[in-house]
C-alpha cells in the first residue's frame, strides 16, 4: 500500500502493529508456560505465569490508548479505520486469552498436592499444543496481512472442539472409575474448557483480521464441533 502523505501517521500505525505483535507473542509465551506448569505440576512456574499476566493487561491498555489517540488525531477512514479498530478488538481477545491461561495456572496450584493429577494432566497436552499453534498462526496472519491464513485458523477451530469433547469424556471416565479423582479432574475439566475458550478467542482474532483486510464480516456461524455440553454421564461407557 502507498504510504500516507503524513509520514507520522504511518509511524503511528506501525507502532500499533508492533504493540499487537508484542502482546501476541507474550500471550503465546504465557500459554506455553502455563501448559508446562500444568504438565509438570510446577507451582513455581505457575506463580510466575500469574505474575506475568499483568504485563499483558498493561499492553492492552497501551494499545487502546494509542488507537484512540490515533483516531482522534487522524480521523482514519476505510482500511485505516478498520485496522485501528481491529487492534483494539484483537488486544481485547489477547487479554482474555492471558486471563484464561492465568486461570489454568491457578488450578495447577490447587491440584499440586495430588500427584495422580500429573498423569491425567498429560491428556491435555495435545489440546494445548493445538491451541498454541492457532495463536501462532493467527499472529502471523495479522502481521503478514494474510486473509487466507486467517480463514484457515477460523476453520481449524473445529479440531480443537473435537479434542475438547474427547477430553471431557476421558476425564468423566476417570472420575467414575475413582471418586477420589473428582476434585482434580474437575479442575482439569476447567483447564480443558479454558483451552477450548482460548481457541475461540483465536477464531475471534481470525474474524477480526478478515474484517480488517476485506471489510467483510464473517457470519456468526462458525464450524462448531464442541459436543461436550451434550455429553450425558449416565450414558458414558465407563459407568459401573
Amino acid at each position: 500500500m502507498q504510504p500516507h502523505t503524513v509520514a507520522a501517521y504511518d509511524a503511528e500505525l506501525k507502532d500499533l502493529d508492533g504493540l499487537v505483535g508484542e502482546m501476541a507473542s507474550r500471550t503465546r509465551a504465557l500459554l506455553q508456560e502455563a501448559t508446562r506448569a500444568l504438565a509438570e505440576g510446577n507451582v513455581e512456574r505457575a506463580q510466575r505465569v500469574i505474575a506475568a499476566d499483568a504485563a499483558i493487561d498493561a499492553l492492552q491498555h497501551r494499545i487502546e490508548e494509542r488507537a484512540i489517540t490515533t483516531i482522534a488525531r487522524r480521523q482514519p477512514m476505510a482500511v485505516d479505520l478498520r485496522h485501528i479498530v481491529s487492534t483494539i478488538r484483537i488486544a481485547n481477545d489477547l487479554e482474555r486469552i492471558g486471563d484464561l491461561a492465568k486461570n489454568v495456572t491457578k488450578r495447577v496450584i490447587a491440584i499440586a498436592e495430588q500427584p495422580a493429577s500429573i498423569k491425567v494432566a498429560a491428556s491435555l497436552a495435545p489440546l494445548a499444543e493445538r491451541v498454541i499453534d492457532q495463536l501462532e498462526a493467527i499472529a502471523a496472519a495479522y502481521q503478514g496481512r494474510d486473509d487466507a491464513a486467517a480463514l484457515e485458523v477460523w476453520r481449524s477451530d473445529g479440531a480443537i472442539d473435537v479434542l475438547h469433547t474427547s477430553l471431557f469424556r476421558e476425564l468423566l471416565t476417570y472420575m467414575m472409575e475413582d471418586p477420589r479423582s473428582i476434585g482434580f479432574c474437575t479442575h482439569l475439566l476447567f483447564c480443558a474448557k479454558n483451552l477450548e475458550r482460548i481457541g475461540d478467542h483465536a477464531t475471534n482474532v481470525a474474524e477480526t483480521v478478515h474484517y480488517m483486510l476485506t471489510g467483510d464480516i464473517l457470519s456468526m456461524e462458525r464450524p462448531k464441533a464442541d459436543a461436550s455440553s451434550g455429553v450425558d454421564p449416565s450414558r458414558e461407557p465407563g459407568r459401573a
Binding site: Q2, H4, T5, Q75, A78, V79, E221
Partner: protein, 271 residues
C-alpha cells in the same frame, strides 16, 4: 467448509432505499475549458431529496460538474459542455430553456458567503421579487420570514432585518445565502464548499441545517472535508483527474471503497 460471507458490502449496495427517482441524471458529460479536458464522460444519477457529496482532490472536476447542474459554466466563454443532463427528465441544455428559471430551481451557495451589499431583508426578498413570487408586501414579508426561519437564522436577525447583510458573522452570512437560495423555492441546492470559510461551530450549524433541508430539497455538496461528506451525505461520488471514479452509498465509500484511487484519497495516501 464453506466460509459464508455476510452481506456487509453487498447488502449496503443493494440495501432497499426508499424508492427515490433520480432528480438529476447526467449521461456522458464532458467539459472542456479551451483545450483542457476538465470532465470526462461523467454519468451519474442524483436521487431526489437527500444529500449527495462530491469529493476529490483540487482540480478533479467536482466543482466543474456541480456548475454544470445549473449551467454556471455558460458564463465562462471558453467552456464547452457536451453530453446530457436532465432534471426531472427535462434536458437542461435544451436551447429553448430559460437559464434564469433554471437557476431559480437550482440554487447555489458558494465557498465564500456573498450577501448583496443590502439589508438582510432585501437579500432574501430580491429573488422572490424579480421572479414575481410575491403578490403583495405581506406576501413578500412572509416569504422572507419563512426563508430565514428555514435557514435557521430568523431568531438571530429578527430585530435587525434592516441591517446590512454584510454586517453579519461569516456563519450567519452563509445561512443568509442559504435563505436567499431557498426564497425562490428551488428543488435543488448546490453547495460549493459552503463551510470552508467557517469556524467549527458555524460549520456544525450549516451541517445541522443541511440535515433539515434534505427533507425538502435535493442537496449536492462539494467538500474537501471527507469527514463532512461522511457526516452529511447519503451518497458520495469520488472524482479524480476529471473522471468520476466511484459513486455509491456514503458508508460504503468511506468504510470499504472498491477503487484503489478512492481508498488512497480518503485515507490520505495521495502523493
Amino acid at each position: 467448509m464453506a466460509v459464508e460471507k455476510s452481506l456487509t458490502n453487498e447488502a449496503l449496495a443493494v440495501r432497499p432505499q426508499p424508492a427515490k427517482a433520480a432528480k438529476v441524471m447526467a449521461r456522458g458529460v464532458d467539459v472542456h475549458y479551451g483545450a483542457k479536458h476538465a470532465l470526462k464522460e461523467v454519468t451519474v444519477d442524483i436521487p431526489e431529496k437527500g444529500v449527495m457529496a462530491f469529493i476529490g482532490p483540487s482540480g478533479c472536476g467536482k466543482s466543474t460538474f456541480l456548475r454544470c447542474i445549473n449551467r454556471m459554466n455558460d458564463t465562462i466563454p471558453t467552456c464547452r459542455v457536451t453530453g446530457k443532463i436532465t432534471i426531472d427528465d427535462n434536458d437542461i441544455y435544451d436551447p429553448d430553456l430559460d437559464v434564469v428559471q433554471l437557476r431559480a430551481r437550482v440554487g447555489m451557495v458558494f465557498q465564500k458567503p456573498n450577501p448583496f451589499p443590502k439589508s438582510i431583508f432585501e437579500n432574501v426578498a430580491y429573488g422572490p421579487r424579480i421572479h414575481g413570487l410575491a403578490r403583495s408586501k405581506t406576501d413578500l414579508e412572509e416569504i422572507v420570514t419563512s426563508s430565514l426561519r428555514r435557514a435557521g437564522l430568523f431568531e438571530e436577525v429578527k430585530d435587525r432585518l434592516g441591517d446590512s447583510g454584510t454586517s453579519l458573522s461569516g456563519g450567519q452570512q452563509q445561512r443568509l445565502c442559504i435563505a436567499r437560495a431557498i426564497a425562490v423555492e428551488p428543488d435543488i441546492i448546490l453547495m460549493d464548499e459552503p463551510c470552508s470559510a467557517l469556524d467549527p461551530i458555524a460549520t456544525a450549524r450549516i451541517e445541522e441545517l443541511m440535515g433539515e433541508l434534505m427533507e425538502s430539497y435535493t442537496i449536492v455538496i462539494v467538500t474537501h472535508s471527507m469527514q463532512q461528506a461522511a457526516r452529511v451525505s447519503q451518497r458520495t461520488a469520488f472524482f479524480h483527474l476529471g473522471n468520476l471514479v466511484e459513486e455509491g452509498p456514503t458508508e460504503l465509500i468511506f468504510n470499504n471503497p472498491r477503487d484503489q484511487r478512492t481508498q488512497d484519497y480518503i485515507t490520505g495516501r495521495f502523493g
